[in-house]
Amino acid sequence: MRKLTIILLAVSLLALFSGAAVAQDYADEITVYNSGDLEHDPATAYDIQRFEKEYGVKVNVVEVPWQYQIDKLTTVFSSESDDVDAFVGSYFMLSNFAMPGWLEPIGFTEKEKEKFSPGVIKASTYKGTTYGAPLMLKDTELYYRKDLLEAEGLEVPKTWDELVNVAKKLTKDKDGDGNIDQYGFAYLGADKLGFTFRTFLYQSGGEMFDENLNPVFNSSAGVKALTFMRDLINKHQVTPNGIISMGEGNVGDLFISGKVAMVESVPPLHHRIMNSDLSGKASLALAPEGSAGNTSYLDGNVIYVSSFSKKKKTAKAFAKFMSSYESSLHELVREGNNSPNPNVFDDPRVKEKYPEKWVNVMQESVRDVKAENYPLYLQVEQNLRQEIQKALNGSKSPEKALDDAAAQISELYSMILGI
């Protein structure tokens, strides 16, 4: 009886508000785990409210601290619990969660897939099945201090070589005491080192794995990428070596505090810039090109649906809703998260919020993003991150570090997967 009432209510609501969605038998409520506090995700919170209104479904949001999100979800899924219907997760979590059969395919039609940037769909697809409904993405862009570059009469760097040259001119001892007060450039370190490495790897034409899952990131392209990362710190001395242990938030702090003139970082940073003293002084550009273009590694969030859920239909409807044009637009305008759907950037509401130049950069950058899915992602990432750190702090050469990481990963794969 109660269900009927709700359905009737939902039907009337739908008829009233949208008229678009077909009345279906949705569950009364679903539980969604969000990565972090919704306070930091005003757009997500807003779109959840819209979903509740349009579908007549109550969404219970559980806010999971982002550093512990994987651990917590893993605990829930290991006990095959139906506590979670859908969750906001990262693209990179896909293989780890899809392999044990914890995820439910979203069921996108080909037409629905077409509206997303191809790299995004590839990153949400594991063994031919699309599991993630893209919510937003974080692609690597170059954030720079317009005022500092103009004062020196410098052009925004477009290639790695130009980046080094400009960074050298911006690395300064301002008060003449022999210490550097302003660094030219920084990239994301700590837990994000693997992401940074992949951006540079793709930009120099490398890949992480071949079709048979053999690690190939220790190719000459990989060595070139890692050597570049090391040289920025040691040889050119334009990047502080502290970034080896600084993650996205810390490097953002560094830029906001004015200690670095340029950073390669990911979108929410422009939102931070607009809310800080740097507003108007900083701008963004495409990541400088390596020898093989300026492809950027793709990070960001998707909505996954749990295969243990008893309300899959509602959860899938939720996932699709959150990856719709309108929701992507809100993510971009309200939170500064890049849209996985390149058409969103043509919307006048976006141009109203951000300078046109930024919008063009974001749109172009989103079209060329890439991420690979391979098994045991988390452990592979840890091996890789550890070896990169060793190369950067000088305890190993880049060649040795990458070879060691590749050997460890091959061994892991043969031990666990029998490859």
């Binding site: 994987i70 651990d71 550097i180 502290g242 242990s245 550890q386 950067l392 702090n393």
Partner: protein, 294 residues
Amino acid sequence: MLKKIFNKYFHYWMIFPAILLLAFVVIYPTFNLFYTSLFFKNGQLGVTRFVGLQNYKKLFFDENFWQYLGHTVVYVGSAVTISLILGLIISNILDKAIKGRSVLRTIMLLPWMIPLVLTGITWRWILQDIYGAFNALLMQLGIIDQSIAWLTDGTTAMMGVITADFWANTPFVTIILLAGMQSIPDQLYEAADVDGATGWQKFYNITLPLIKPSIFVALVMRTLFAIRALDIVYALTGGGPGESTEVLASYIYNLGRRWLRMGYGSTVGVVLLLITIVLVFSFMFILKPGSVRE
């Protein structure tokens, strides 16, 4: 009749509720730990296969295990030793007639009251390159010219983790030792004064032997906590740079909860449990905390 039974088995009645609670929460998980350690159990593959003692054999040849065991020894060894020595010195000072003693005691307790995760995050910020508070302090005092990236070098990162650990936990040691010192009768010191003993002699010959039971309590509890300490390491370095602050506790965490290699993770867990038991019993053997009572 009922009363008689109650009186006869009084000691069991007294223990029963506590044991019941412990049994309720501990027997199944512990059994599970030992049992799982005999399986190849991987949550990623959804495979569970009995392998007997294979995991233990694998562990013996696991370079990571030995390396992280080494880090654990360094971490636990230094954090516990330093906090014990600091605790001894501080409690010895606070045991004496010093002005503002109760204020000092309160100040001394403060770091213990800060949630450990916050301790880790705060120290991470303090030790950060360029905008870290420690660098700012050293530079303003003119001790260094250029800020140092403490968390970028393996050795200094480990020192940072150890420092945060003993910063947070020394108060606990101090309180326990101070309590022990408070209970030493004054007459013993008075007698020593008559013999013309120096302060150091009194500390060495009277205080130290008499607070042995307190040292034992502090030592064991600190060791237990340091061996499993995860909050600080995770918040401060995440095991990096490289793997220089990776310890056995974080290895078990990664294996079991992140990489879902539950079988092998349990094996490392069992070995860590055995190491802990051996360690505690050897403390018991070396310190003989009961001997003072004779």
